[in-house]
Amino acid sequence: MTRVNAQVYLPVVGVAGLLLLWYVAVWVQIVDPVLLPSPTETFRAMWDGMFQGKLGFDFLRTVERTTLATLIAAAIAIPLGILLGSSEKLYRSVEFVIDFFRSTPASAMFPLFLVLFGVGDATKISVAAFGAALVIVFNVAYGVMNARKTRLLAAKVMGASRIRVLTDVMLLESLPQTFVGLRNGVSLALVIVVVAEMFIGSTDGLGHRVFESQQLFAMPDMYAAIFAAGALGYGFNLLFLLVERRFVHWSGK
């Protein structure tokens, strides 16, 4: 029992180690104190920023954009992935296109989307959705294609129609892989949204907060915004993991 309990606290070791290192670095002034504020200063900036300053608002804006982008991506990519995955021939015929765009840095698409959607939120969200959708479509299609052959045969011999095989077996079989796609998708969407907030005529969002703090040389604020972005990315991942564990209980079993 004690061993198990001890395991739970292992991650704390890394965090404590990092904080210690940080304090020491500040204390011995390895780096210019202006560039590297102390952890205390940083977390105070984070606390104040979140609950009194602009950081909280920027955080919510980024949450909003990333969520919207992921929802749009999922709404398009999941049905598309199922469609493509249910016919191996169909998937093979578009595989190259998907792989090509999946390998294209989404940030390279900004100028194109700027022309299409202008310098507003639409561009940020649609580029992020574009990137996430490719990741999701790829994973869903593979999940459907890799459905266990025996399970499909079992359904067939019990008299399931093609549609029933798709809805009762393939769809559920693809869920674990779909969640892999969703987790990767939301991470990518967050990356794209934050980059977009830095450079594309933004007035809010975590990317904007990081960039503005740096321009104003407000280092604690900048670190605070970076940590907020990190926490957000981690939180999204955790959220999907928890949802997966709840609804895809058979995953990995």
Partner: protein, 277 residues
């Protein structure tokens, strides 16, 4: 339309041991004529003929890759024939209910459904209502005397329990023919022995025409009314050996002279076929 009473009819009418022999009609249940099947360049069946008598348990035994699984898949309509015909009571494939038990229960059951929902699934495909599905399933469970917590998910059960769930899923529709493709080979020996007797009991009680693929000759003979020995590519009937020991058979059966004789004969035929290459 009497599907609802199906389980009741066959399971609860449980014929006593030995009466299966009396039921053996002269008319075969399944007739295979001129069956041909080729995968790529390998010709697995070439104008193959076979008669499967009604109400018997047929074991199929033969070298690895000779086409045992392919044969039951063809009969069950899981894969199309290249040529030839497969008749049931002299009729081509109509809406026949098959039960099919796969070797790999882990990949044959649906892990997202509870065990009881797995068993009920084929009834759902038959568009039976919830209450009726539950009723038929519970009747089958009670009849087989299965003591598994069926509220659990398959992955929470042992291998033997999972395969038992698979078998119940195959039986719940009251199939005309039950196929089992090496159903016990993924189980440990103790469980295999237990499951053999479960299968024998089910067979004695339902009298369902059963086709069992086995790679264990002892098991093949022990359970069978007839052992179908196949030769390699393209597969032919090397021998179709009757074994008429009374049921229920038990451990004692394994040392009876007739059992030993039939098993030795099958082994001899098998080795002759293997040596031919």
């Amino acid at each position: 339309m009497d599907q609802g009473s199906g389980v009741l009819r066959s399971v609860t009418s449980g014929r006593p041991a030995g009466s299966a022999a009396a039921l053996r009609s002269t008319r075969p249940h399944v007739t295979v004529r001129g069956l041909s099947k080729t995968f790529g360049t390998s010709r697995v069946y070439d104008r193959f003929d076979l008669d499967i008598p009604r109400g018997e348990l047929i074991s199929i035994f033969g070298p690895n890759g000779c086409g045992k699984s392919t044969l039951i898949n063809l009969i069950a309509g899981l894969i199309p024939v290249d040529a030839g015909e497969i008749l049931f009571d002299g009729q081509p494939l109509r809406d026949i209910k098959f039960g099919y038990v796969f070797q790999n229960y882990r990949e044959a059951l649906f892990p997202w459904l509870r065990s009881i929902e797995n068993i009920e699934y084929p009834l759902k495909l038959m568009k039976l209502g919830k209450a009726e599905r539950r009723e038929r399933t519970e009747r089958l469970v009670a009849h087989l005397g299965v003591k598994i917590d069926l509220k659990r998910y398959p992955y929470e059960l042992s291998g033997g329990q999972q395969q038992l769930v698979s078998i119940m899923r195959a039986l719940v529709v009251d199939p005309e023919i039950l196929f089992l493709d090496e159903p016990f080979s993924a189980l440990d020996y103790e469980m295999t022995l237990f499951m053999r007797d479960q299968l024998q009991r089910i067979f004695v009680e339902t009298g369902t025409t059963t086709v069992l693929v086995s790679h264990d000759l002892e098991e093949a003979v022990y359970l069978a009314d007839r052992i179908l020995l196949l030769s390699r590519g393209p597969a032919r009937i090397a021998d179709f050996v009757p074994y008429e020991a009374a049921r229920p058979r038990s451990d004692a059966t394994l040392s009876e002279a007739e059992f030993v004789r039939v098993k030795a004969h099958c082994l001899e035929v098998f080795q002759r076929e293997v040596r031919k290459g």
